[in-house]
Symmetry: C2
Subunit: 661 residues, 2 copies
């Protein structure tokens, strides 16, 4: 019960009746008796319709539903109440994706079925005054926000140009609209509209033939056939005419039957899309300013994200190393690249030994070159052992791989991630040994190590944090990328400076960070149920602290299942959403296309924010590039960042204003 | 955010990371590393299916969904997790309704559409060994539990014998099954089953023709017609044959097209219901013991429940006094009688003056006699003023009404409810004046007054509670039914005895109680979000405290709306659900039948519990009749009652064991 009561708390009358001296406020009906009065109206609600069945083709859709807009950082829940509609006005750079949400909630029910009503959503191209266009089939996507564990999270694609959704009584539905601006898009103001139309059941249901009706039709047509079939040259003409007349009559009767009443027998079938929009539709203006900045194709900050191959193997029933397995990994890799992240596949061994690899093919395979050369990929993991074991010994394999890769231009993106969070001397030594092997073949190879503490059986210092600080000194030269948990820093931002002070960038060392089950609320992370700005702030934090890369352990780490469409269960012991940034499309439809979470979209937005901040810093210096976070009220620290979207637009607007050419 | 975080709290990892000395438990994959390990299994989940598209006609439905049973006092939320299935075994008296819930949650998605899958639910008759039956179309109802403000509440009827529901990925759906045992039903053990079958999309969707397909079919048939029409006696036979052959070919092509592939051209159409059940269906055994006790047709405890006529008028667009208005009220009255309650219609005047009436017709109208004589009605309200004003003066009206009614057998059910919660001398005096008028015409008339305090401008005692206690002395002889708020008693049950001590049953006085916006959690009431046993305990409390009747101010007191299907909004300032026990059917479908809330069903169950307790008390005495509440752990006091269903079954089982003949 506590959950339900908590859920309703904001709605509950807060007076406590423990004090008998208090006067109760009794329910008042029919008079203006304050908040409890009947007929109290906030001006948003009353549909102004009279009783009886509602024909949505004869009523403005705006009388049937509330429509309002919400920023991409809002978590729009089923119980969210309507707000005033304000027109959508977006700013985007070229090669940027910008998103906004449209919330819809029925005022009445107009459907005979168990839904409140059916709605068609249509989006136009966005056009500039000079005739340039952003095409709906190329640059605009509409997705329905679907709750996971009751929290809006999964973004299930809708059809374009017209999508049909069902509204439920008493529930708010959110639509996630994204515009992907191509790199070559001419800057300017683009305008378009989103058209929302309530539909009658008949337009979706009785335009189709039911089974019984179809059966009847089948019988009648079969009957026509039986009449016509005997006509041949051996029969008298009179019989042939008789039979033809009879069949003609039957056919005519069929064609004027209610089954085909939509189609005018004289003028032929009407165009099907003609009536998709009507004078009663709700039309939302969509304004987008595209500016001349082009987000760099290769992300400035590598964000490497783990994809569990084990999960793919189990869920999609593909055998490690099979053709289907390569195809499944390829699908994932290509889909994930759109989020400005650098995927690596991984499988866990004993004691957190990990096998990580961005390409499942060997270095000399053309696909590996294709993957590693992709300008959207900022970093790639090279496996220490062969991913798909073959005749070669592992040792030879590593040498061969490294010797091939280090001759390539993309070698600067390569890293080796060998162990996840070593905890004791044995594990630290395993990293040293592997790293020695690697550096023997390529002294300039980058080894990445994630950690949040020193070895627990050989303390490097008297306190846990001091020991943690000493890890670079302890591991050097066996690690180049020191990747630490944000959880260690907690709320003490000054600790970041102490970590940075231990790193030797002059020797090619870098400091990266990661989040996983920690830090938890109120710190930025990607757990389900956190605020939208909290999700986006993960990257703001990285920018402010000065890390040069980011790692996340898993984007598809659901609990085990052996069917693609099996329900998504989060792993026990982890906060919901941890290790899960997208869902298999099969859970929501027959599509094999993965379904992004709003958290993955906010990760992308955060990475895009970094490009804005970097542009600003390139013009005004690093100091101003972090000061703007505070100036706009966007991000002050891990426990102090905006809950509201406005400062984000303020930051972006400021960069636009000061950096456009 | 706090709402969402609260919602997830039971799911969140509870460790706090504030102490940096703590070791984090890192995510472990692929090894048995405790709770966070991949592949950890609770034995309930794994569907054991291989990847690829799932054909539900070829897989046991049990591999596609979890099905389990829950008692009627459980609030089964969308996020509820599966439990072990335990067979349903119910006990019911004759003339009793007993309910149980069946929860379904998909393990996988098998539909191409946005739902996880379509499910057919079929219920058989319940049969006894001696051949007696409880028929599905008469005695069994299936309803879908629909959330209101996120809390399971509305019970939307499903079709019988086969209903189709859509399951959503990651959501639990609850079905509310009720058995209504007729008074004449022979006692015995009745057995039946509930059959749940996953359906392919094709069984619901491709068996119907889509609009495009239909348009194509229309074109082809039109073409046939164009070929056949010119055949007449004036044309050569060869042309007629040619044309007939061409049409025959077209028709044959149409009939073997995929549109009609379901129908076998040789054997004729197949039976549509044949494949409703398959070997792959889930079959739930349903056992019901009907015992020889017949719940009295007239409820032992009158529970009078207000229905706002104003709300009916506004929402259904019916004018006060019109034919449609009488029809709307009649529909409500008849529907509500099934819940063992005695409805009264009401409208509020100034200062909480109320006009209450059970029949909208005058006393001499046959419908009034029909209403008041209905054995299911335990009490009826007589209006002080004419409900639909006519030529008669109000004064004459009252005299005429009372003189007609007091000659009737049903006069003992009559009461006058004049004022809701008088607060000052003026209001108390208004009641005295009206009551004097009534008693002038009928000295034995019962006047009911609701109150929770004495007049605030003439304190009857030095403390608020003592003043409240003195109201009977103050109002006598102008009130017979002293109806007090349960909120006044709070947690101090002994106060009930002090109230009772002030009542003079020897002079026809009674003590009734009511709940409204108070008392609030944890006390029993009917607010949304309270526990199921908390809803049902409202009546347990009445039984234990010894009141002889109960009043509730409103069952349809939504916020104002002027369309039947307008969204339901609770009135501002009231706890959600207060004053709302059912919903207009139009909100959920085109049905005009009201939709009960689970809270209304629990009110009915509570009233049925009272009949069990009364039977027990009639055999073992009133003291044992309240002791059994404590003995079974069902109800100890307003803050201490069972959260679990088991004690309810224990009480009912004990009454059955000791009182059956």
């Amino acid at each position: 019960m506590s959950t339900i009561i908590n859920l309703l708390k904001p709605l509950l009358y807060t007076d406590r009746y423990s004090n008998h001296e208090d006067m109760m406020v009794p329910p008042v009906e029919g008079v203006a008796g304050g908040g409890t009065a009947y007929g109290w109206d906030d001006g948003l609600h009353d549909p102004g319709l009279l009783g009886g069945t509602i024909d949505p083709t004869k009523v403005p859709s705006a009388e049937l539903m509330h429509v309002w807009c919400m920023p991409s950082t809002a978590n729009v829940g089923l119980q969210d109440m309507p707000r005033q509609y304000e027109p959508i006005s977006l700013l985007a750079a070229r090669n940027e994706r910008e998103s906004v949400q449209i919330a819809i909630r029925p005022k009445v029910s107009w459907s005979a079925s168990s839904v409140a009503g059916i709605v068609h959503i249509q989006c136009s191209d966005l056009c500039s005054a000079s005739g340039d266009r952003l095409l709906i089939d190329k640059s605009i996507t509409l997705r329905r926000v679907v709750p996971v564990l009751g929290v809006p999270d999964a973004l299930v694609p809708l059809d374009l140009p017209v999508s049909q959704i069902s509204l439920l009584a008493g529930e708010t539905t959110a639509i996630w609209l994204s515009v992907n601006v191509p790199s070559a898009q001419p800057p300017g103001l683009y305008e378009g509209e989103l058209i929302i139309t309530a539909k009658a059941d008949s337009e979706s249901l009785s335009q189709i033939l039911g089974k019984a009706e179809k059966q009847q039709l089948y019988r009648e047509l079969k009957n026509c056939l039986d009449i016509l079939e005997p006509i041949d040259g051996g029969k008298p003409l009179a019989e042939a005419v008789e039979r033809a007349k009879s069949a003609t009559t039957s056919l005519r009767r069929i064609l004027v039957s209610p089954s085909f009443s939509d189609f005018c027998i004289d003028n032929g079938p009407v165009d099907m899309e003609e009536d998709a929009i009507s004078n009663f539709s709700i039309r939302l203006k969509l304004n987008l300013t595209v500016w001349d900045f082009v987000l760099p194709e290769t992300p400035s900050l590598p964000a490497v994200i783990g994809i569990s191959d084990t999960v793919i193997e189990d869920r999609f029933g593909v055998e490690h190393g099979s053709i289907e397995w390569y195809e499944a990994l390829d699908r994932h890799f290509k889909w994930l690249l759109q989020f400005r992240i650098s995927p690596y596949f991984c499988r866990w061994g004993e004691s957190m030994r990990v096998l990580t690899y961005t390409s499942p093919w060997p270095a000399d395979h053309p696909k590996s070159d294709e993957y590693f050369s992709d300008p959207r990929l900022a970093a790639y993991a090279v496996p220490y052992n062969p991913v798909v074991p073959s005749g070669d010994a592992a040792k030879n394999y590593l040498q061969k791989e490294v010797e091939i890769l280090r001759t390539k231009n993309h070698w600067k993106k390569a890293y080796f991630y060998l162990w996840d969070e070593p905890l004791n001397l044995e594990q630290y030594n395993a990293i040293r040994n592997q790293a020695s092997d690697i550096h023997a073949y390529a002294p300039d190879a980058r080894v990445l190590t994630t950690y949040y503490c020193g070895p627990n059986d050989a303390p490097l210092a008297s306190t846990s944090f001091e020991a943690f600080l000493k890890v670079p000194e302890f591991l050097r030269p066996h690690t180049q990328i020191y990747c630490t948990s944000e959880w260690v820093i907690g709320n003490q931002e000054e600790l970041a400076k102490r970590i940075v002070a231990e790193i030797q960038p002059e020797n090619g060392e870098e400091w990266w960070t990661y989040v996983c089950l920690g830090p938890s609320d109120p710190h930025p992370n990607w757990h389900l149920g956190m605020r939208g700005t909290q999700h986006r702030a993960v990257m703001w934090r990285v920018w402010k602290e000065g890390g040069t890369g980011f790692l996340y352990w898993g984007a598809n780490c659901y609990e085990k299942a052996t069917a693609a469409s099996a329900e998504i269960r989060f792993r026990r012991g982890l906060p919901p959403g941890d290790g899960v940034l997208f869902y298999p499309g099969e859970v929501f439809s027959l599509s094999h296309q993965p379904v992004a979470s709003v958290r993955l979209e906010r990760l992308l937005s955060g990475l895009q924010d970094i490009e804005y901040l970097k542009l600003y810093a390139s013009k005004f210096g690093r100091e101003e590039g972090t000061a703007i976070l505070e100036k706009t009220g966007m991000y002050m620290g891990p426990e102090c960042y905006t809950h509201d979207h406005t400062p984000i637009d303020a930051m972006r607007g400021e960069v636009f204003r000061t950096c456009r050419s």
